[in-house]
């Protein structure tokens, strides 16, 4: 389990770098490091399906982010207030951890979830009521409603992006902006 903690620390460090670094392309690379470490963390937790999905989604996000940011300059937002913001963030984290000690202690230990549903899935898979890939059976059989909703969410998101970024049918809006 020590490798998981190393990965988590690496992800936190890369996330902080991504927020703090000045160069936008370097920030995108740092975000990619977070995603890669998350993929490896899924592998450590023995979830290869999630690792594959995380890896390919991370790649596609990086491509879109690089295409979106590589031509832009970062608007420097450095000022004297940076120290105050950092201090406030640290104070908030300390306060949050102090308040969350009780709830964290009440959580079930790692690897022993409160809900027993997963055990039922594994038992059904052991009895042979499953495809060779248990994950595939879960998402398409026992949790088919979730998968249907996921596909619908993606479909709606793509339609929304197209509606916002479409090239045609925006002349009226552009003319209104010019007259304002």
């Amino acid at each position: 389990m020590i490798e998981l903690y190393i990965l988590l620390l690496f992800m936190i460090a890369a996330a902080v770098i991504a927020v703090e670094i000045r160069d936008l392309l370097s920030a995108v690379v740092a975000v990619g490091a977070v995603g890669l470490a998350l993929s490896v963390a899924f592998l450590v937790l023995k979830a290869p399906d999630l690792a594959i999905t995380q890896l390919v989604v991370e790649i596609i996000c990086l491509i879109i982010l690089i295409r979106a940011t590589v031509t832009r300059d970062r608007v420097a937002a450095r000022g004297g207030a940076a120290l105050a913001v950092g201090a406030a963030a640290c104070a908030f984290v300390v306060l949050f951890l102090a308040l969350a000690r009780g709830p964290f202690a009440a959580l079930p230990p790692f690897g022993a979830p409160l809900f027993r549903t997963a055990e039922l899935y594994v038992e059904a898979g052991a009895r042979g009521e499953s495809e060779p890939n248990l994950v595939s059976t879960i998402i398409l059989n026992w949790r088919a409603y979730d998968t249907l909703g996921e596909a619908t969410v993606l479909f709606t998101a793509v339609i929304g992006v197209l509606a916002l970024l479409r090239r045609h049918g925006r002349k009226g809006a552009a003319a209104e902006e010019e007259t304002e």
Binding site: E131, I139, A151, V161
Partner: protein, 152 residues
Amino acid sequence: MRPDEFGGGMTLIVKTVARLTVGLILLFGIYVILQGYASPGGGFAGGVIIALAFIHLTLAFGKDSVRWHYDRSIPRFVGRLRAPTLMSLAMLAFLAAWLAHGLVALRGGEARPYDPLVMELCHLFIGINVGAGLFTIFVALVGFPVRGEEGR
């Protein structure tokens, strides 16, 4: 006009490597989709890999070349919004497979709790949905002029 004659895209080295590798990437995506019932992978991951193959082509050859192929390979009657149409069809097919799966399960009797063929079809339709959707998002973000940049 051959696609190589479009000005956009990257250098000849990148174009050659892209031409050699894009078929393998596409094949790997199809493999991940169809093998989803037996090994890690499935419709979502395979669909993303297929979208990545097309993004690979778009980045290497430029969007004009890809649009040229797109216009020649996909019939006009599908309409302007070809990728959303494909996604809609995939969603409907997935819904139909899903409902058929549920009906078989509801009818009980000799139906097994899962049907491998229906699951394979579900993987396939999810893959088409995800691949078309993500490539559409990429084209929308990279291919269309963004507000404020049109004059450049």
